[in-house]
Symmetry: C2
DNA sequence: GGAACATATGGAATCGATTACATGATCAGG
DNA sequence: CCTGATCATGTAATCGATTCCATATGTTCC
């Protein structure tokens, strides 16, 4: 591999001069510049960012830790992050935590060893050990999806989104409403959305039956299982189902349709996420758009602010959301 | 940031010894080892891969160039790639070409400047300039999705998949078959799948009407547009539609349903891709599973072979595929 | 004509690791 | 007691860039 020294020798100048040509800095005569560029061209020399980073102390790489790569949310978010970061010449180093907290911590260390300029943590469960690790590192970290104490984060407005969805159902006249959630250890999706649901029900003085409150695990199948339980374990069926994710909602819809219960005439269903799926299932699913790509962009923005403007104080950004009314609701 | 020198000073040994402890190599006394480890622990020292790579000439990073990040195919593929690469201690540096050939070339250079150990190119259109650039670089490159001359590639069996799908329709008794493709500049999706369709029609002595051959651009909407043209521009409608991607097929289905034409009684629809969507639209879509994650794994495997076993000779791997029969076909 | 300044270039230290080589101690075997 | 392993550690070069500082040559202005 050809190095700056080769270029220097071949052009008959010092590597200092070559460096000047490369970075367009300092004084270089036109003739020297031409000569050097000519040699660079003919040798196909590409300077090593490696070596440069070692000296300049910045890699122009941002590590992105994802809970899982192949999800719609993740890919939208990464798309947004990349859009913004690439504008500023940053690259993304990907790390897949695979829903595993230990791996998340391991990746933090790994990214640190790669001397990334910053780390974006697309978070699920926030654990004390994780927070501790983050605080020990002196690399800017920005979280997306869950609030992490002490660092900048972009969070979805889970509480209000879920509250609005529930209110919507209630205002449409529903009184018997079922709920399909996920484990409350997931603070945003599990805990907050459930809290909002319960609060809204209470605000409207509606009863909540425990048999109608079920839990799934983020996939379509478990949404169906939860729905089965709701339908089978109680004498009376709810007239509406609020599932905390689109996939859970779609699983529920499948089961409802299998039982020849009409959606939305007999049971309305709503989800959260505005997945591609939600638009094309039938009936189309009423859901909430979380603007994931925008969230990615905003997260990258916070990162850039910390890197470029040396912003120290952690910021918290609350994303807005949009209700999408479709046919699964009446 | 604490360096190996700091550790050396604090532990009262040379940095050579620290390096030995770090890499578990050479001779180090138990006492020295303990001392060094203790200091490392207490300072939270993380060695710089940066500096290490500069010396050892390998970064343990693989660049992955994607035509577009937020697609189902891309995320499945990346998932597969990451699974295999992480087993071998490699990380992924992401590059988004955004369906832009110039950006693809630009990213090749950028990745080269980062001294990645290899590059995986998830390809769409192969252009001569791109091939030239690849050949000039002395970094292992593996392509996925399209065959690139001179380098290892993993390709889907577009021809046979499309031929099988067409035969399937014909054997179900369909004679009037419409086709929704994409631009033939996309060799795999555009050219090969169309060629297979035409070949199969010919083999069964079936006529192909030009009004029934339409083109879209990879999204659901354009599938619908193509379908509208097919239905409106010809006196007689086809009894089956073969769309080269699931999204095109789903767009077509939407339009067919809007016109109150029954799927599959009046028109059957098939796609390719086995997208999540295909399973949950109604009727569910008959499609072809391309095993994207597996393809990602295999691609990573080829890369590992080149890196670890120093395999020189380019290999070509043809992926298998699986027909998924669902309700959109009769 | 010399001080002050702009222009052009190179020498050498530096970033944080690895590693070839040298050196010194310890110990076993003849 | 000497020889040659084996063990333990350190010195210094190296990877490929950037950058501070020194030096040399013009150029300008009083």
């Amino acid at each position: 591999m050809v190095t700056i020294n080769d270029i220097a020798n071949l052009s008959g100048v010092s590597r200092t001069t070559v460096s000047r040509v490369l970075n367009n800095s300092g004084y270089v005569s036109e003739s020297a510049k031409r000569k050097v560029q000519e040699i660079i061209e003919s040798t196909g020399y590409v300077p090593s960012e490696q070596a440069k980073s070692l000296r300049t102390k910045q890699t122009k790489v941002i590590g992105v830790i994802l809970p899982k790569i192949s999800t719609e949310t993740a890919s939208r978010v990464v798309d947004g992050i990349d859009k913004k970061l690439s504008e500023h010449g940053y690259h993304i180093l990907l790390a897949n935590a695979n829903l595993n907290v230990e791996k998340e911590i391991e990746h933090l260390r790994l990214l640190q060893s790669r001397r990334v300029d910053g780390i974006i943590l697309v978070a699920t469960n926030i654990e004390t050990q994780l927070i501790k690790t983050i605080q020990e590192m002196n690399v800017p970290v920005v979280a997306l999806g869950q609030e992490v104490p002490g660092i900048s984060s972009v969070v979805y407005d889970d509480y209000h989104a879920a509250y609005d969805v529930t209110s919507l159902l209630i205002e449409k006249g529903h009184k018997r409403i079922g709920f399909i959630g996920v484990s409350e250890t997931d603070r945003a999706v599990g805990f907050e959305r459930k809290r909002a649901f319960l609060d809204a029900m209470k605000a409207y003085n509606l009863d909540v039956y425990s048999a109608w409150i079920q839990e799934g695990v983020f996939d379509i199948h478990s949404g169906g299982q939860a729905m089965k339980t709701i339908l089978e374990e109680s004498p009376q069926s709810p007239t509406a189902i609020f599932a905390v994710t689109d996939r859970l909602a779609i699983g529920a819809m499948q089961v409802i349709k299998e039982k020849n219960i009409d959606i939305p005439k007999q049971i309305s269903v709503v989800g959260i996420g505005a997945s591609d799926l939600s638009k094309y299932v039938s009936p189309s699913l009423t859901t909430v758009d979380y603007y994931n790509e925008k969230a990615g962009i905003e997260t990258a923005n916070l990162m850039i602010e910390q890197l470029v403007k040396k912003e120290e104080k952690p910021k918290k950004l609350l994303m807005s959301y949009g209700l999408i009314l479709r046919d699964s609701l009446s």
